[in-house]
Symmetry: C2
Subunit: 213 residues, 2 copies
C-alpha cells in the first residue's frame, strides 16, 4: 500500500500519520485530549477528513493500541528461563499500559485481527511457553490469566495513595483499617509495585506447579 509516485508525499493523510499524531497528542495532553477534532487539528485537517482513513474513533484507539504493543518487551522469552521471562514480560506489559488505561478495554474486548504488532507479541510469548514444555491446548488460557492480572494491575498502578482511606467509617471496619495502615512497603517500592510483585510471583509459581503436576 505504497503512495503513488509523482505526488508530494508530505501532507497526505494516512493511518500511519494518524497513529503518530494520536500518540503525540496523548503523550503531551493525555486521553481527554484525544478527540477526533483535536486529532484533526494536530494534523491541520478538518475532523471529517479523518473518516476517509478510519471508520470510527474506536479504530483510532485500535491503531494506537497496536503501536504500543510493539513497545512491550518480549525479548526475555528468547534468552531466559520461563518463569523469569514471564516476569520481565509482565512488568514491561504493565508499565506500557499503565500510562494508557483507556486502551485496556480495547485490548481486552476487540479482536486481534488486523493488529499485527499485537499478534507478533502473542507469537513470541507462545514460543516461550512452548519451549518451556507447555502443552499447546493450555497456553492461551495461561496467557489470558496472566494478561487479566496485568490489566488489573495497570489500573491499580494509577490508584491514588489514599484509595483505601476509610475516613469516618473506620470504626466499622477495624481490621481492614488496621491492615491498610500497616501496608507500608520497603523503601523504593510503592504499594502498587509491591502488590504486583506479590501477585505475579504467586501466579507464576502456581502456573509452574500446574505444569509440573
Amino acid at each position: 500500500m505504497r503512495r503513488r509516485a509523482g505526488r508530494p508525499s508530505q501532507a497526505l493523510l494516512g493511518q500511519g500519520q494518524i497513529t503518530r499524531a494520536a500518540l503525540k497528542l496523548v503523550a503531551r495532553d493525555g486521553y481527554k485530549a484525544l478527540t477526533m477534532s483535536g486529532l484533526a487539528k494536530s494534523l491541520n485537517v478538518a475532523p471529517s477528513a479523518l473518516y476517509n482513513h478510519v471508520a470510527s474513533k474506536q479504530d483510532v484507539l485500535l491503531l494506537v493500541e497496536d503501536a504500543l504493543m510493539g513497545r512491550v518487551d518480549v525479548s526475555a522469552f528468547a534468552r531466559m528461563p520461563w518463569a523469569e521471562a514471564v516476569r520481565l514480560w509482565a512488568h514491561s506489559y504493565r508499565d506500557v499500559f499503565s500510562a494508557h488505561l483507556p486502551l485496556i478495554p480495547v485490548i481486552a474486548l476487540l479482536p486481534v485481527t488486523n493488529a499485527p504488532q499485537t499478534i507478533k507479541m502473542y507469537e513470541a510469548v507462545t514460543d516461550g511457553f512452548l519451549r518451556a514444555g507447555w502443552p499447546q491446548e493450555r497456553i492461551v488460557d495461561a496467557i489470558v490469566a496472566l494478561e487479566s492480572f496485568i490489566f488489573g494491575s495497570a489500573y491499580d498502578a494509577n490508584a491514588p495513595a489514599d484509595i483505601f482511606a476509610t475516613g469516618e467509617l473506620a470504626e466499622e471496619a477495624p481490621h481492614f483499617s488496621a491492615a491498610v495502615s500497616l501496608r507500608r512497603n520497603p523503601a523504593g517500592h510503592n504499594d502498587a509495585d509491591a502488590a504486583f510483585a506479590l501477585g505475579l510471583d504467586a501466579l507464576v509459581a502456581g502456573l509452574a506447579a500446574t505444569l509440573a503436576g
Copy 2:
C-alpha cells in the same frame, strides 16, 4: 438523615432513589443508557435537578458501584477454609462486575471513603485472611493482587469468542494460531471461565505458598 415528617415523601428525590433508578436503567438498557438526562427522565425530573443530590456523574457511578458491592458474596470467609473461601468470593466478585464493566475504573481508582458497602466487603475479606493466619502487613497487598486479577477477568468474560482470530496474519504467527485453535475447553465451560479458574487456582496456591514459606 431522615426526611422531615409532614411532607409527602413519595416524590422527593434523594441518593437512594437515584441509585435505584440508575440500577434499573442499567439492568434494562445497559451503561450507554445511563446518562444524566436519561436518569432524570426515569425519575420524571429535569436533568439539573440531579445536581442537588450528586456532584457529578462520577458520583452516580460511585453510588451504583457501592450498591453492587453489597451483592458480592463474602459469606464463605466465615465458614470455609481460606483457599476455598477466596475462590468463592473471587467468583462472586467477578460475576457481579462482569455485567458492570464501566464501574471497574471507578472501583480501581476512586477512594473507598463514603462507600460503606465496599468497606464492609473489605472488612469481611480481611477477617478471613486474619483467621487464616496472614500477617496484617501483607493482607492488603494480597487482596489488591487478587482484585487486579478479578477486574481483568471481568473484562475477559465479555470478550467475543473470536478475540484471538488472527485472520490474514495467521501465517505470521503459526504457533499462536495453533494454540488458539486448540483452546477448546471441557463441555459446559467457556474459554473465559477456564482461564479464570486456571489463574485463580494458581494465584491462590501461590499465595498460600508465600504464606507458608
